[in-house]
């Protein structure tokens, strides 16, 4: 029976005809009660359950997922991991996530295929270079690696960019983060699921929340498509569907749900070994380990719960891609899809207690939740275990919308959303 993944176990299983692998996580029937319930089996929910068990010793935990784990935005993003944000609060948050990502494969004993291939945010004018220098300075002061790239530097890391004299968006330089890169998105969900399951967490799929059990003004559990499940500590990490659950719990959130689409080309030989973002073209691009060119852009401009993108946005993104990389003109698109993202006015997440006691929020990541999974899980687990914020999660409380202490990271998303 092979439980731990290693080169040695792979070798042994090869000799044994691959017959000893166990399923990566258990699929138990839901129990009637738990110490904590996490709603949402995406990266953030699974990470929350894992850190509840690992950091806080709380193992009577259920993750309730209405579909299959990692089937929402965790499986629909462009897999970029970075922490090139401006404000100290954001740096503390995304910096924590980035550091945890760097040790995640070891921590989970699951290869999340983190590839720190670097990312460059291009600057297309003198004015953008001034803003770029300001961003780089802010990142360095906040202890995050950053470098201001010259046009020659950009040419070195992305030689296939459109450097022609008549380019619509010429390169004046860029913001470089060498530790940025990509990770295998499914592996992040599966790795957290496996590690959490091994610590005793029940992962329950095809289990949709139909209502909250509210007694004495406090949340005491959930009604689900698989019966009532009780707990006195409930966290939700459901991204674009946060408002739907909030309505069941009796409150509203500062969230609009939009479709964010992405697409990949047919696989081609290695041609782009970094992540390139052009604010002018409104596109970011990388090449997956399988060789596909992975393409992302801005939001569809129509509030939506349909997990598919609309054509005008796709056209804009592809036009931007070809402006950046004319060489991709003959690529064939293989797949196109969309996820429903929870967009907040200040483009920063909401982490903290909800207006309904015992129910805690992890939402509002908008277009950038994947890179934050380890931090979102750590912070929601801390809230569920202690009932209190720590210094990193405190600024992201829902109360900032009444107090006016917004963390306006509109620029941090890279693309104007």
């Amino acid at each position: 029976m092979t439980r731990r993944y290693s080169a040695l176990s792979l070798f042994k299983e090869g000799l044994a005809g691959q017959t000893g692998w166990k399923q990566a996580w258990r699929s138990p029937e839901p129990k009637p009660a738990y110490d904590a319930i996490v709603i949402g089996g995406g990266g953030h929910g699974l990470a929350t359950a894992y850190y509840l068990a690992k950091n806080h010793g709380i193992t009577r935990v259920a993750v309730l997922e209405k579909g299959w784990i990692g089937g929402g935005n965790t499986g629909r993003n462009t897999t970029v991991v970075r922490s090139n944000y401006y404000y100290p609060e954001s740096v503390a948050l995304y910096g924590l996530a980035h550091r945890l990502y760097e040790g995640l494969s070891k921590d989970l004993n699951y290869n999340v295929m983190l590839s720190q291939r670097g990312m460059v945010n291009l600057c297309h004018s003198t004015a953008e270079m001034e803003i770029g220098a300001r961003t780089v300075n802010a990142m360095q002061i906040n202890g995050i690696d950053a470098e201001l790239f010259s046009p020659e530097d950009v040419r070195r890391v992305a030689p296939i960019y459109n450097f022609s004299p008549d380019a619509r968006f010429p390169v004046f330089g860029g913001i470089w983060q060498g530790r940025a890169g990509t990770a295998r998105h499914d592996a992040v969900a599966w790795g957290y699921a496996r590690a959490a399951s091994r610590l005793g967490v029940d992962i329950i799929q095809n289990c949709e929340i139909t209502d909250f059990i509210i007694e004495g003004g406090r949340c005491r559990g959930v009604q689900t498509s698989r019966g009532a499940i009780r707990a006195d500590r409930i966290g939700m990490a459901v991204a674009g569907h946060s408002s739907v659950l909030a309505a069941k719990a009796g409150f509203r959130l500062p969230i609009n749900s939009y479709a964010l689409q992405a697409c990949v080309s047919e696989p081609v030989k290695p041609i782009l070994d970094t992540v390139v973002l052009s604010p002018g073209c409104g596109v970011y691009v990388s090449q997956s380990d399988k060789g596909e060119i992975v393409i992302g852009g801005g939001l569809d401009r129509i509030p939506s719960y349909a997990q598919r993108g609309n054509l005008p946005t796709l056209e804009t993104v592809i036009a931007g891609l070809l402006e950046m990389f004319p060489i991709f003109g003959q690529l064939k698109l293989m797949r196109q899809w969309a996820g429903i993202v929870d967009v907040v006015p200040d483009s920063s997440p909401i982490i903290g207690p909800s207006p309904l006691p015992n129910l805690f929020l992890n939402c509002g990541w908008g277009t950038g939740g994947f890179k934050a999974i380890p931090a979102g899980g750590t912070l929601l687990a801390n809230l569920l275990a202690t009932g209190k914020h720590n210094d990193i999660s405190r600024p992201f409380d829902l109360d900032r919308f009444a107090s006016g202490r917004l963390i306006d990271e509109a620029a941090g998303s890279g693309i104007a959303h």
């Binding site: 408002s243 401009r301 509030p303």
Partner: protein
Amino acid sequence: MQLFPCPFCGPRDETEFHYGGDAGNVRPDGADVPIDRWAGYLYLRGNPKGTAREIWVHMNCGEFFVMERDTITHKVLSSAALGGEHTA
């Protein structure tokens, strides 16, 4: 390309329109509006899954109007000029 019905210009490309928030989100009036009421007006949204009543602007003619729309299927159910008899 989806067509949205502008009450003034008729069916037009979706790219000509801009979303303007929940219909019926009325600005609080008076000097002693509590903070929560202001925060609610400025930030909190219904964000319904299913039928939604929304303010839209047709950027070409500049008119604001109310559109009722399904946020799952994107089917448009109705569209009416602001201040008309069909709008709150």
